[in-house]
Subunit: 572 residues, 2 copies
C-alpha cells in the first residue's frame, strides 16, 4: 500500500489521522524489512520512529539519532520529518489541533503496547483512539518455516525447568495465578530456545502464557519446535483468545511494555483480572548466571581477536576500500571464531560525514571510500552461542586534524570516567550517565543518544531493563549485569566519534559498592589521543587497558599481527 | 499530652495507630518548638521525621541524617527509632500487619499535605486513614501578635503588583480561575511581605487564595499587616472554608506539596473544581531577578567578611572554647554587617564526634571544648534584607590525622567537580548529584544527605523546587537559581566533614549550556588538603577560589586579619 492509497482510505472513512508505529506484534523487538510499515510508506529505514498519516500529509517523528538520516531518506514533499528536540508526537498533536477539535486517530492494537497506548490516552485526553484494522493490513506472517533450537546447557547454564521455578516464585510473591509474557526474548530465555527467525538476533519469536501450576502455552507461527525436556503447549498466535479465556476471573500479570493493546482488549473482554507488573523474566534474565558470564567473557576474547586482526588489516589495506568492503572483511574475520552464529546487528561503518549519522548503515548509494584525513566510525558485534558482543572503535584514516583528536580525547575522558566509576548498590543508570557526559559538557559538547544499554546472552544486543541514559531508567544496576559504555560526539557533515566497550557489573572492593569490569578487548586508536588533555589517572587507565588487550589477544595472532598489536598497545 | 496518655486514648477508641508528622499547618515549613508534637512526645529535635504511635508502642521513622541523633534523644523503652535505610513507614506497616488485618490509622488533616496523604493511600491500600482530631489537640496558635513588614523594592526588585501579574499569566495558561497558595514562602514572595514569626526565617506565616481577577485573600492569625500598595483581604485561618466556598464549581489550582488534606477536604465539600498543579510562585521565586541577584552577591560579601574575621579569631583564640562559645562569637561578627536580620538557621558547630551528627545543634549537655587533634564542622548562615547565606567549613584544630586530611580532600574533590561542572539547559539536580559523590564513591565513601538545596532571597534557606540529590528532584536548573553545593563525609563517633558554598546558576560560554558561579567567600582549610590527591585542574580551582576570596574580602579587614587571610589564601 502506498502513502497515497492510505490517505485516500483515511479521508473516505473520516479519520483525522492514522498512527503507525515501527512495531510488529513483538512490539519493541527487531522487525524484518517486510514488516516495517514505516519503511514501506516513507523509505525511512531507521530503528525508531513513529509515523502519523493524515488525509493530506504525513509526519515522521524521530529522535536525535535519526534526524539527519530521516531527512536523507524520505521524500520531503510527502513526509515531514519532525525531530524530538523540536516536537514529539504528543506536543505536535496538541499544537496542531484546536481546542474544539475532537480528533479521531486510528491505530493497530497489535502493534502498540499497552504502555504506549495508555501514555497517549493520558497525554492526549481530547483525542479518540480507535483500534482499527480496517485500513491496515494485518501483520504479514512470513510463510517461511523456522526451526527453533535449544540454547544448550553448556551455554545457558540453568535449565528451563529451573528458570520456570524461579518465575513461579516471583509470581507467587505477587499473588499472581499466571503471567502473559509478551516479550519474545523473555520466552527465549525461559525456554532456553533460540531460532533463526531474524538475521541478527537468535530470538525465538513467540509469546507465552505461564501459570503457577507450571502450565505453559507458547504462541508462535511457522516455527518447528525441537524435543524439549520442559513440556509446553504450542499454539498459533490467532489462538491467544482461546487460551486466555481459560483464566477468566483469575489474576494474570502482564508487562505493559511488552503486551500489545490487542492482548489487553482480549483479556478485558474475557473478564480476566489482568494486572500490570514487571515481566519476571526481564529481571531474572538481566543478571547473568556464572556459566553465562564465563561464556560472555570467552565470546569477547574471540571477538577481540577478530577485531584486532581486522584493525591490523585495515591499517595495511584499508586506504581506498569502501565502507561495504569493511563490513565484509570484518565479517570474514569474525566468522572464523568458534561458536559464531551471526553478526548482532548490521555493521555501522561510517566514514567521514557518514560517521555523523548516528545509526548509519552503509548502502550502495552512500558507500564512501576511505581517504586520508578523516575518521572511520565502526560499530559492530556478533552473536556467539556463548555470548553477544557490541563494540565501537573510531579509527584515524591518514593524519587526523587537531580538532578531531581533541574531541576524540574528550569522548575518551567520558568513557574512562564511567568505566572506572565505583557506585553504591541501588544506583540507577540515569545517575551514572552524567559521568560519561561531564568531560564533553565542559567543552560545550554532547551526544543525542544513550550512554549504555543492557546486553543479552546470545539474545538481543539491546536488552532491558538496564539503561544508562539521560532520560533514562531508574532501574538499579546489579552485579552480573552487562552494559555498554558508549559516549560519542558527532559533527554533522564532517565526522562521528564513538568509543564503546561492553562491561560487566561486579562488586567493588568496598562493601555495598559496585564497579565495572571490561569485557571488550581491542585497542583504542592512540593517534586520536591528545595525552596532554588526560590526567595521570586517565593515562594509567588507557595503558592498563591496552596492556590487558595485548596480553589476552597476542597469542591468537600471527607474528605480523602481534607486532602491530604490541605497537598500538604500547604505553602513551 | 504524654505518649502514655495518647496511647490510652488510642486504645480506648480502637485505633490501630496514630500518625504524627512533624508538620504544622504550614506543612513543610519551619515550625516553632511549641508546635513540634514529635519533640513533645519523644524528645527528638531533628528537622525531619514521622512518628507512628500504637496503643502499646511508638516508632520514629527518620532518614540517614538523623539516625544517630534520634537514638541519642529518645527513650528507647518507649520509642523505637527506625532509619530509612532499614525501613520506611510504608515498608514497616506492610511488614507489621498481616494480610487479613485492616488497620485504621488516625491522622490530623491539618498537618498532612495532600501529596503525603495520597502517597500513603496509594502505597497502603489495605489501610484506612481517618481524618481525626479527636485525640489530637488542634494546632496551638501562638497568641503573640507579630507585625508583617515590607520587603522593600531596593531588595525585592519587583513590586507585588508585577508579581501578581506574573502569577495571573501562569494561571491563565492553565485555564485556572484561581489558585490556593498554601506555601507561606510563596505568599511572602508574592506580597513582598516578611515577618518575625519565626526566629531564623523572615517568612510571613500565611496562606492565600488568588484569582485571575486579582482578588487576594490572605489567611493568617495574629499578624498585623502594614499599609501596602497591593490591596488584599485578610482573614483568620478558620475562615478558609467561608472564602473557599465562593469558588463553587470554579477551577481552582492547588499544589499538593503545600496544601493540607484539610483544605482539600473543604474544597471537595463545597464542590470546587480543585485541580493539582505546581504553585506558580515556586517556579517564579526560584529564578532570582537582577536586583535580588545583586543583593545576594552583596550579602555574601558581607557574610564572607564576618566568616573570615571569625576564622581568624578561631585560629588565635579557639583552643579551649566550647561549641556554644563559637556559635555566639560567629553571631557577634555577623550582626555587625549591614542589613543583618538574623541567622538563617541554628548554627551547627560540631566538634569531633559531634561533627558526625549531620544536623547537630550544640546544647549544654553535648557542648564540647575544642581540643587539639580533631575537626570542627561549622555550618551556619544569615538572613540579610538583601539575601540569605549558608556556608559550611570544616576546620582543623591542632594537627589533623592523615586519614582526616585524605577524607577531607575527597570531599573537596566532589565539591570542585560539581562546582566546576558545565551542563545543558534542562539538566536536573538528580543528574548533577553524581558528580559530587563520584570521588567519594571511588574510595568507598558516601554521605546520607542531599548535595544541594535551593536558597531563597531573604526567605527560606532551604527553598524548592531545586534539589541536587540522590533521590532527588527532576526539576531542571535554570540561570538565576541559587543552590548550595555541600558534599560531606561522616565517621560516626569520630568526626564530620562538609564543605558547602552557595552558587548561582549562570550561562556558560557555550550556547544552551549552564554553569555555576560561586557566591560564598571564605577560605577552605588548606591544612586539610592533601595536594597529592588533587589534579592540576583541581589545584587551580582552589587557588583561583582563594585568590578571589582574598581580593574581595581583604579591604574590610584590619592588618592582622588581612595578613592571616593572605596566608590562608596563598596558593597550594
Amino acid at each position: 500500500m502506498t502513502l497515497q492509497d492510505l490517505q485516500t482510505q483515511l479521508s473516505k472513512h473520516k479519520f483525522n489521522a492514522l498512527l503507525i508505529t515501527r512495531n510488529n506484534r513483538f512490539l519493541r523487538q527487531d522487525i524484518l524489512p517486510e514488516e516495517n510499515k514505516i519503511m514501506e510508506l516513507t523509505g525511512f529505514s531507521g530503528s525508531a520512529g513513529t509515523l502519523l498519516v493524515t488525509p493530506v500529509s504525513a509526519y515522521l517523528f524521530v529522535d536525535g539519532r535519526y534526524e539527519i538520516q530521516a531527512a536523507r531518506e524520505v521524500n520531503p514533499e510527502d513526509v515531514h520529518v519532525v525531530c524530538k528536540t523540536q516536537d514529539t508526537l504528543v506536543s505536535w498533536l496538541k499544537k496542531n489541533s484546536t481546542p474544539l477539535d475532537k480528533w479521531t486517530i486510528a491505530y493497530n492494537p497489535e502493534c502498540l503496547s499497552v504502555r504506549e497506548f495508555e501514555q497517549l490516552q493520558r497525554e492526549l485526553p481530547k483525542f479518540d483512539f480507535v483500534a482499527d484494522q480496517y485500513h491496515l493490513e494485518g501483520e504479514k506472517i512470513s510463510l517461511e518455516k523456522f526451526s527453533a533450537f535449544e540454547h544448550e546447557p553448556q551455554f545457558s547454564g540453568v535449565s528451563a525447568e529451573e528458570k520456570l521455578g524461579q518465575v513461579i516464585v516471583e509470581l507467587k510473591k505477587h499473588f499472581f495465578h499466571g503471567f502473559f509474557i509478551g516479550s519474545a526474548d523473555s520466552v527465549s530465555w525461559l525456554l532456553n530456545l533460540r531460532s533463526r527467525c531474524l538475521p541478527d538476533t537468535p530470538v525465538l519469536r513467540a509469546a507465552a502464557l505461564v501459570d503457577i501450576l507450571g502450565n505453559i502455552t507458547v504462541f508462535a507461527d511457522n516455527i518447528e519446535f525441537p524435543q524439549a525436556d520442559l513440556q509446553f503447549t504450542i499454539a498459533p498466535f490467532a489462538d491467544l483468545e482461546k487460551y486466555l479465556k481459560n483464566y477468566k476471573k483469575q489474576k494474570i500479570g502482564y508487562d505493559g511494555n511488552f503486551t500489545s493493546q490487542k492482548a489487553f482488549l482480549l483479556a478485558q473482554k474475557h473478564h480476566i483480572d489482568f494486572v500490570p507488573a514487571q515481566d519476571p523474566c526481564q529481571k531474572l534474565k538481566a543478571v547473568k548466571n556464572p556459566v553465562e558470564l564465563e561464556g560472555i567473557r570467552q565470546a569477547h576474547l574471540r571477538d577481540g581477536v577478530a577485531v584486532c586482526r581486522f584493525l591490523h588489516w585495515l591499517e595495511k589495506e584499508g586506504l581506498g576500500k569502501t565502507e561495504l568492503d569493511i563490513v565484509d572483511k570484518l565479517y570474514d574475520f569474525r566468522k572464523q571464531g568458534n561458536n559464531f552464529f551471526s553478526v548482532s546487528f548490521d555493521t555501522i561503518a561510517g566514514f567521514a560525514a557518514n560517521g555523523a549519522v548516528v545509526h548509519y548503515r552503509p548502502q550502495e548509494k552512500t558507500n564512501l571510500k576511505l581517504e586520508k584525513g578523516s575518521l572511520l566510525l565502526l560499530d559492530s558485534g556478533a552473536q556467539y552461542f556463548d555470548g553477544t558482543t557490541d563494540i565501537t572503535r573510531t579509527i584515524a584514516v591518514g593524519k587526523p586534524k587537531k580538532e578531531m583528536i581533541d574531541n576524540f580525547t574528550y569522548v575518551l575522558k567520558g568513557h574512562i570516567s564511567l568505566s572506572s566509576a565505583v557506585f553504591p548498590q541501588g544506583t540507577s543508570g540515569m545517575k551514572l550517565d552524567t559521568l560519561a557526559r561531564n568531560p564533553l559538557w565542559r567543552q560545550g559538547l554532547d551526544y543525542q543518544h544513550g550512554t549504555g544499554h543492557g546486553v543479552g546472552c546470545f539474545l538481543n544486543v539491546h536488552e532491558g531493563p538496564l539503561s544508562i541514559s539521560s532520560a533514562g531508567s531508574r532501574y538499579p544496576l546489579e552485579a552480573g549485569m552487562i552494559t555498554s559504555i558508549e559516549p560519542g560526539y558527532y559533527k554533522e557533515d564532517h565526522y562521528g566519534i564513538r568509543i564503546e566497550n561492553l562491561v560487566e557489573v561486579v562488586p567493588a572492593a568496598y562493601p555495598g559498592m559496585l564497579k565495572f569490569a571490561y569485557l571488550t578487548l581491542a585497542p583504542i586508536d592512540k593517534r586520536l589521543i591528545n595525552k596532554y588533555l588526560l590526567s595521570t589517572e586517565e593515562i594509567n587507565w588507557i595503558n592498563n587497558y591496552h596492556q590487558n588487550v595485548f596480553k589476552k589477544i597476542q597469542k591468537y595472532l600471527n607474528t605480523e599481527e602481534r607486532n602491530w598489536l604490541k605497537d598500538v598497545c604500547s604505553p602513551l
